[in-house]
């Protein structure tokens, strides 16, 4: 049996807590469409003024990397310590340039 919520789509919710900051993922919810998802997100996730701006994205539209594949996915960066500032040893007087 299909329940009514299963007919609704899943949306991911991102909230900007303060102007100038990034939107952060805060959770997800079911809704009929984007507009409804925004209103639900407002009611569900920003009841205590947690945000100044909300983004909703259909969960199906998110393409995510697989954590199980993390080893080989990120492997190209593992042998490049020279991308980090701390790799370079400089004389003390100029060390915090």
């Amino acid at each position: 049996m299909t329940t009514s919520t299963e007919k609704l789509e899943l949306f991911e919710v991102f909230v900007r807590s303060k102007r100038g900051l990034d939107h952060k993922h805060i959770g997800s919810l079911h809704a009929e469409d984007h507009e409804q998802a925004l209103e639900y997100a407002r009611d569900c996730y920003t009841r205590r003024s947690e945000g100044v701006s909300i983004w909703v994205v259909k969960s199906n539209d998110i393409c995510a990397s697989q954590e199980d594949d993390a080893d080989c996915f990120y492997d190209p960066s593992d042998d490049k310590p020279y991308r980090h500032a701390t790799y370079y040893v400089l004389p003390d007087p100029v060390n915090n340039m």
Binding site: R19, G20, D22, S53, K80, Y82, R83, H84, A85, Y87, Y88, V89, L90, P91, P93, V94, M97
Partner: protein
């Protein structure tokens, strides 16, 4: 009479709130931002050329890997900035066209040639160093996407300056010939690095409005002074001679006094007459045209994939 939208905009600016892409903003604010951010993006992209010139000739595998990583970062920074600029309603292709036709500018420093390996060190240390001074200040710029881009770029950029200084240090502590090469690179890049901060505040066409709107947070001359001050000791530690013979600590001001810059040279390079202006743009156009087949291949592949999916679904 100010319209309510403009009042609201100015209220946000004075309250140190960020302006976000979908907010109302004055047309001139938008235009000013597009000019500055795209110019910044173009600088990152054109900036790959002078250093890219030495990738195949780096003196060791380590230096080569480091330089490759740095140039790769610059491409990434260009991307962050183009994307931030696109939130203002201009397309990537419009920006690239403006760069290639000369309608948009990029930092004049990249019109100087990289004659020796020491130039790569001098660029990392001085040019990226000057860029960092400017970018640290821009982390507080009033446009949200630009400010957030700057924070990310500054975080990544500190290795650029350190690797450059390290390379200079190796030369400065090396043979007489290597030391002379380091001194020569310092002598040639010091002045253009100071010019990166732009003309004197009194001669800067966009400064006043940009300060009012908090696009810029510190004036050209203040940022330049900061860079002059921080560089003095770095030159001493290298054991090199300061290119500015007039450099002198001023107790009263709490800053170093220095010579004025050769502004004729500055304007001449800005207006297209530097050593490499034509070469930089010609190279960009050629690379863009030669890359056409890659962009075509991406589109063709996507179409092929879509057709296949449609076929499977049927």
């Amino acid at each position: 009479m100010t319209i309510p939208q403009e009042e609201n905009f100015m209220r946000k600016i004075s309250a140190e709130e960020k302006i976000e892409p979908k907010d109302w903003m004055p047309a001139a604010y938008r235009k000013n931002l597009i000019r500055q951010i795209s110019q910044h993006a173009h600088s990152e992209i054109i900036g790959m050329q002078p250093e890219g010139n030495w990738i195949t000739r780096a003196p060791s595998l380590r230096r080569k890997a480091v330089l490759l990583s740095k140039v790769q970062d610059e491409a990434g920074h260009g991307l962050y900035l183009y994307s931030a600029c696109e939130t203002l309603g201009i397309s990537r292709s419009e920006m690239i066209e403006q760069l290639q036709t000369g309608a948009a500018k990029y930092s004049s420093i990249f019109n100087y040639p990289t004659l020796t390996w020491a130039d790569v060190g001098a660029i990392g240390w001085l040019v990226d160093g000057a860029a960092i001074v400017n970018q640290v200040s821009l982390q507080r710029t009033s446009y949200g996407p630009y400010a957030r881009g700057m924070i990310r770029i500054c975080k990544e950029e500190s290795f650029h300056q350190r690797q450059g200084y390290e390379a200079m240090l190796a030369l400065a502590k090396g043979s007489e010939g290597q030391k002379a090469m380091a001194q020569d690179a310092l002598d040639r890049f010091y002045w253009p690095a100071l010019m990166m901060f732009g003309p004197h505040d009194s001669d800067s066409a966009h400064s006043q409005k940009s300060m009012e709107w908090k696009i810029k947070r510190e004036t050209n001359d203040d940022l330049r002074q900061k860079f002059i001050d921080q560089t003095v000791q770095q030159i001493e530690v290298l054991g090199l001679e300061h290119p500015d013979k007039a450099i002198k600590w001023n107790e009263e001001r709490g800053h170093f006094d220095s010579s004025d810059l050769n502004w004729d040279e500055f304007w001449s390079v800005i207006n297209g007459n530097g050593h490499c202006n034509r070469q930089r743009i010609e190279h960009h156009v050629a690379a863009h045209e030669e890359g056409e087949w890659v962009r075509d291949a991406i589109t063709a592949y996507n179409e092929k994939k879509r057709a296949k999916q449609a076929q499977n679904a049927a």
